[in-house]
Point group: none
DNA sequence: CATGAATGAGTATTCATTCAT
DNA sequence: AATGAATGAATACTCATTCAT
């Protein structure tokens, strides 16, 4: 029974949700606060989203989709695995750094019951089984098979890359270190060393 | 006025808090539920902790201190940096795997506004400025200076180690992979490769 | 300012109100639901009825008037009091059985603060003070005066007839008994015994 | 998880519920209003009743039980059917007249989805199949079998008695007529005429 | 005129905290 | 000192009514 017509209002609500949840967490973010920040009436949110839970899930979908776009944009299909790895690493870093609220929202989402079902790696891994799939998961499986990467479960590689990257992004946002282009490149190299067979 | 307190009751409250918060999150854990699980009256918690927020912070301190103990226990003081690195890595891994509630509590804490001020590296880095300080931070600074480790900010190294490890522990607890001794060793090696200068 | 109104739209709203209130009660029937069922816009109801309360009252008036028509149709003016009594009893029974939504609406109305002011006998007793008035009230007064009926307040007689009949109609609608023509006749006879002086 | 200890507070809540629901209906009676009238905090109701629906059902149970007590008190077991009929009729009348809020509450309850499952006759009819059961239902079945009463479905007799009586009580409470002892006796006689075979 | 999106007051319920026992 | 009943502020959600299109 959702009839929204005003896409700008919907966007404003999504944006307010991202920013507030990023800063305060779900439970500390009342619907009324979201409405106020979005500049709409308290009841209006419910014209666009059936309830709070659905608002959260749809906000996640929006962030996720925006992030996915950033990842596939300019993907160096067909180039070396190192080159493609760097594409992912750099895109993610930049996305997190430039969209710090999106990043913080995603952390909240994945570390809550909402996101337990999903896993951060799944977020990327489109349902692809073809050769040149544009996901980090596929790239890692390819690297293991080709002998470029260590013989560990793919998920372990993913944890190393994602875990490192999200920790760094988090500390960048908190101002504890600065992720500039040079630093990102150095860390990409370091993580590559963790993945690569020597 | 300082009132009489029963240390066992205090411990029971801390334990109940860890377990419930680990499983449900802060906001989904009412004080009454903590009291019930701890086997004390709802009002009694307030003899030990001024309010819910302080309870959370002190619970963190307790978990943190217990973890610190696990880290310094058997510390191979004086041995090679690789050996000492492995000590930390293995201790943390085992602590997380064997104390999954503590681990889940820590994640909740760090990913919430509660823990924003703190940083996971500070947790380890007890007030040490002496030469042979038994902390991962110091070890990393030592490695950078000695040329064993890459020339990155120490915090970047810490993010790589901690970020990887906590991601892995999380997925182990969720059952997505299995962190047995062998796997832990392999991952320690991989992370070492990320830290080390080649 | 009197604005143009579409009588068919008004009827559609009244019909939707009857059916929904009959099934769900006033408070469980949102204006938007009435509008949807009537096939009009939510705001349009307010062109025909100032607010929800007035809508309810006017719906009652409509049902009431339709019922009154059913009662006077074929009224055996001039025939015996028993015959005229039966006319009323049978008409009401049939009306309730055949218009179960109307009946349920009336019950809702009378059992709510809305209908407190009115009385079910008033519903019948249209502005009649002439001799041969076609209402149950008048018939009862006539019966008392003529000695056919017991010497009770007219309202008491009305309560017996109406109370019995509406209870029976309710249980018929709920399926607890079946009010067919034969049963109705028997019950009309029983109620006559209650009214009649023996 | 209901731990009430203070029976007076529970009673105050039940009383407030009866009075407010009687006057305003369920949906027009906010919990906060009940709490205020009962002289307790808004949250306190929930220590005694899990939610509003349960409060309503338990209030019904209380009223119902009080009414049942009034009916069986002084029941002329073993006396004539007429005598026993009169006992029921008079007791109910007096109960309704003297406990007008209870009466109005019962009407609200039975005419709502809450009470649809139940039926007013069931309220009396304890699970009795023995000879001298003290319920109106049993008495009516006995009367039909013995030939004292008309050959109608028992429920039809019950509708006549209950329907008449509750209509009268309603109008008494609204002040449209006065149910004194004499009037009650006359009406009991009238209803007997409806039941009895002539 | 008709519409239905927007509004915000109103409602049930939860829970941190207090305090009488 | 310990308890847990009582409290009321806070929160998600609904719906009568308005008004811009």
């Amino acid at each position: 029974m959702i009839h929204q017509t005003d896409p700008e209002k919907r966007q404003a609500i999504l944006r307010a949700t991202i920013e507030l949840v990023a800063k305060r967490g779900f439970h500390a973010t009342p619907m009324a606060m979201i409405a106020a920040r979005a500049g709409v009436g308290a009841g209006s949110i419910y014209r666009y989203f059936a309830d709070k839970e659905i608002l959260i899930h749809e906000t996640f979908a929006e962030v996720s989709s925006r992030m996915h776009e950033a990842m596939v944009d300019g993907y160096p299909r067909g180039e070396s695995i190192r080159r493609r790895y760097e594409h992912f690493f750099l895109c993610m870093s930049h996305f997190f750094v430039e969209n710090s609220s999106d990043f913080a929202f995603l952390r909240q989402y994945f570390d809550s019951p909402f996101g337990t079902a999903l896993r951060r790696d799944k977020m990327m891994e489109q349902q692809c089984r073809d050769t040149d799939c544009e996901s980090l998961s596929c790239l890692i499986e390819e690297g293991i098979k080709s002998g470029h990467f260590k013989d560990l479960p793919p998920l372990a590689h993913i944890c190393i890359v994602f875990g490192s990257l999200t920790s760094l992004a988090r500390d960048h946002i908190h101002g504890f270190l600065t992720l500039d282009a040079k630093m990102i490149q150095l860390i990409a190299d370091a993580c590559w060393d963790a993945l690569a067979r020597h």
